[in-house]
Amino acid sequence: MSPDVLYTIEVILNGLMAGVMYSLVALGFVLIFKASGIFNYAQGVMALFAAMTLVGIQNGQVPFSHLINAIFGTHIHHFGWQLPAIVAILLTVVVMIIFAILVERLVLKHLVNQEPIILFMATIGLAYFMEGFGDLMWGSEIKTLDVGLPQGASLALEEYTLKWAAEGSEYYGMYLDKLDMVAALVALALVITLSLFSQYTKTGRALRAVADDHQAALSVGISLRKIWVITWCIAGVVAMVAGVMWGSKSGVQFSLSLIALKALPVLILGGFTSIPGAIIGGLIIGVGEKLFEYSIGPLIGGATENWFAYVLALFFLVFRPQGLFGDKIIERV
């Protein structure tokens, strides 16, 4: 094969992998929107907060240490332990569950039956609060996240594909990041688990009932508040997974919260209410933006990915306003 063909395949594969990373963020949005009709502006910050908590717990960092030291004149920063990644992950899940309960008790409970825009505004407030709270709790410096995930090129794949190119051509083998491959497997496992959970468990069916019709679900005795807590718990865990994957690449820092921007076109394309939509949307956006950057980017100065993802999503929006997999919009008069 000619190297150009192989490079194109490489770009498509890497686009798929990038798409999976976008989907991981989009999934959290979909879960909450599906169950409560809330567009959770704080999803990106939740990913950041979860990743900060994970690193903090793993490294034995004392939460609010700067505040404690400033008030009491102490110099405490660490408990002195280094926890195994799995323990830190489980403890972070506990923190995200507590966070979900607090969000329901302190914010959502008071906004039942309010307009979606009010709930959306509440999540904006929540995002800003969490940004500051996370910094206060764990500090704002860039943290290294190491939960043992592999990173870097897959040398086996590089070697295996090296011979695919025509002899004498300049080709270095196909590149795939091992972290992206792990992310793809994790996303697959997440989607299967969430699908099985929503299809075959009582709580999952209750979630779907609430998603379909709040009033009808309430009339058959489903607790809306309980469902909201469960939904935010799951979204919190999904945010943690996204935070771990993205944080492994760049370190855990404020910019992690901006990954939500990469999820928006995915949601527009895949639909706000479909879990498979979040995945398929992510893959289309990932491949689309990478192929565009590879083929057209050099002709127009490059750096096309950010805006092209939105153009692609808007193109789909013209033909399917509800997204590829979103619930069909039916207006009855």
Binding site: N14, G73, L258
Partner: protein
Amino acid sequence: MNPLKIVGVALITSLASTAAMADLVFPSLSYRTGAYGANGIPFADGYADYFTLVNERDGGIGGIPAKVIECETGYNTQKGVECYESTKGENPLVYQPLSTGITYQLIPKVTADGIPMHTMGYGRTSAKNGTVFSNVFNYPANYWDGASHAINHILSENGGDIKGKNVALVYHNSAYGKEPIRTLNELSAKHGFKLAEVPVDHPGQEQKSQWLQIRRTRPDYVLMWGWGVMNQVAIQEAVNIGYPMENFIGIWWSGSENDVIPAGAKANGYKALTFHAVGSDFPVFDDIQKHVVDAGKAAGAGDQVGTVLYNRGMYAAMLAVEAAKTAQGIHGTADINAAQMRDGMEALVMDAAKMESLGMAGFGPEFTVDCKNHGGPGLGAMQQWDAGAGEWKLISDFEPSDMEIIQPLIDEDSNAFAEESKIELQECA
């Protein structure tokens, strides 16, 4: 005398003396929040701590305490301008906006208001021309110097011949990131290397396409003009594709501990430019520890002392203090105003003796500023990351840039600005 008159005179005298002894105000347009907060914090801490040191150890500048007014910009140009407007009534002596975007907006404002602005290693490069930019200073080095330093380093590694070499510039797709392109194009024409431009959009969290391109084209050297998360991701991606770190060179804003630590041991060998020394092996840091950190007066937790960006903030503050001292000397008064501060900056001399007296011998290059040249000689050095030791090491002396290329560019750009803005050129002796 009537007791009422005595009280009145005493009150007036007291108010007058209070006014006379007003603090010397140094606004700090900092960013401790947002996407670039992790970098803004150590810089702001270093800036504030040096003024605290001067107050605590020396009793201020010429006997008058320095006062730092911090205003949060979030690295947002609009907020930066608001910070300027809200603090300019406090009789500030010099602004340091720490943002190229804010700098561009403030240039006409500070010029009209007669307040000097120092943009150390950032901002509008052609502000080096003091006859056009009377109130803007960018000593000791600017972006175009940086571009030249990087190419000089590559030249020195290749015996002075880089004809036919491929150099890629990975840059933040903003006014800041685009600054070196013109210079690099000129240097490319002079030395015969091929330049490939690889832009990265803000914030730079996802750079797969750019690094696949670099992996395909295999440039001999990669230069980076990045900031914030873009740096960390770029270094990680370079590690992932197995790019040789010793051939990867960042500008000084891509060379802090924050940028290399997330990539771990494989970031070893990564290089970055600098215009000041690294580490905390200077007497001034002992003073900071004693008078500022241990006294509980540090702006931050005290854990950033000696890091690259803390040092840079401290260096900026030190240059401001020395300019203020120079101004006090010129005008024979300790209570200087912004116009007098400008004169001090324009007559600043940073020689070895002065640096040594400050406990900073060799911390920065020796340089002088004058009416025509607000940027100094543009000296810069190269630092390299030692992942094993977890520290940056200076691997070169402070060396000059290629003024044969840069000076005509500065003249052209600044003169065009003067014409466009109808600026009356400052007359220099």
